[in-house]
Amino acid sequence: MRPPSLYVPGSTPVHRADPVTKGVWAASLTLAGFLVPDWRGLALLFLLNAAVLARAGVLRRVAGLVLASALLVVTFFVAQGLTHAGSGEVAFRAAGLPFYREGLVFALTLAFRLWNTILAMGVLVLTTRPQDLVAALLMRGFPPRAGYAVASVVQLLPTVWAAVAAVLDAQRSRGVETDGGLGRRLRALLPMLGPLVMASLTAAQERAVALEVRGFSRKGPRTVFRPVADMPGALAVRSLGLALFAASAAWRAVL
């Protein structure tokens, strides 16, 4: 059992691009997706991000994420198709219920917004180790204590994940029922989580001491263990991202 991760290791230009530039790109294109009022415009953003992801060799991974959103997309089409009547033009009827054309178009827009979010953020999260992102942010003045809080989760999760497996086995062998009715499964929650939380909090205490003796509360500038270099052309990529965002905002304002 492995802790969750979206990062796909690689050495493509997208992987090597500096995390802050990818972050600016991901944020501008995600927000742009929510400003573009028409699904055809969103489809263009979708294709643009898909091309970047293809270059990074992570299309398969992102396709998995898009498929995982299928249920959400189905609810868009059912909920909006049935209720968003607009001019009242009925596209088709299913089980005697009318599905409105405008509602279905709106649902398509929502679906593309969701996919655009997944793809745009994917450019950042699928190609960047979380530690590198934090290091890059720290180098630009992100508070070190906040940086620690994010980066240490990466180190912590594998340890905690191993403990989960151990506690599940131990409690089952002591006769804690993890099958059966809902009430019985709910009651199993505490014997499972209690020891894990307890062990984690003790670990937090030890970490606090370890951090303190290493000068965690010290004031003044910090150095970074794994410096992340700005890539050539970073400015151009960031400007393009921001320009697309501005264009989407303008499109929204005009319509």
Binding site: L65, L82, M121, V125, V150, T178, S200
Partner: protein, 200 residues
């Protein structure tokens, strides 16, 4: 020594160390809920526990870091809902400070309050981002039937979110409360635990 304000932004090192632990506990809660096939998310037990132990500021930071991290390793859409997590942490931390963790009944009240806050904060996000639905089949079925009976989008969307949040947050907070009650005094004191435990 001057008493520390519950809203103070000056965190002790232990409070900072508590934040990643809270995020890990959130992940574990979600995973255990899946193992036990519970129809709940239970993905904010750590946030609530950090809020009870360290106060609203620690709770809010744990919530924010949780969604940023979850967005990085699991689901990119989660970044948007960092706002909800921050408010869950703030509400749980402040109400725990006001004594809502003294008795089991108060803890249930805290769960209901957290559910209301979570639904109120999530509703504008759900409406603006996704036209009001949440992606939960039962909630969205309710949304659709309310809309068909003529309810406004905002009310239908709030109830869509609230019917899922209510059981989820009440159980989340109650589990966090039971764990909090069982913690050794030494640890609770070190966390700066603003929340009071009943004398037992």
């Amino acid at each position: 020594m001057q008493a520390r304000s519950v809203w103070s932004l000056r965190l002790t090192t232990f409070m900072v160390a508590l934040i990643p632990i809270a995020v890990a506990v959130n992940f574990v809660g979600k995973y255990v809920a899946q193992v036990l096939r519970l129809p709940l998310w239970l993905d904010s037990i750590g946030t609530v526990l950090a809020a009870i132990l360290g106060g609203p500021v620690v709770g809010a930071l744990a919530g924010a870091v949780n969604n940023v991290f979850y967005g990085l390793v699991q689901d990119p859409v989660s970044f948007w809902y960092a706002v909800t997590s921050v408010f869950i942490g703030l509400a749980a931390g402040y109400l725990a400070y006001r004594g809502w963790t003294k008795t089991p009944a108060a803890a249930v009240g805290l769960g209901v309050a957290v559910a209301v806050v979570a639904a109120v904060v999530s509703t504008p996000l759900n409406v603006l981002l996704w036209g009001g639905t949440t992606g939960n089949v039962w909630g969205d079925a309710l949304f659709t039937s309310l809309r068909l009976s003529g309810f406004p989008v905002w009310i239908a969307s709030f109830l869509d979110e609230f019917v899922i949040d209510l059981p989820d947050k009440v159980i989340t907070v109650f589990v966090a409360y039971l764990i909090f009650r069982g913690l050794p005094e030494r640890l609770v004191a070190q966390a700066g635990a603003v929340a009071a435990r009943d004398a037992d």
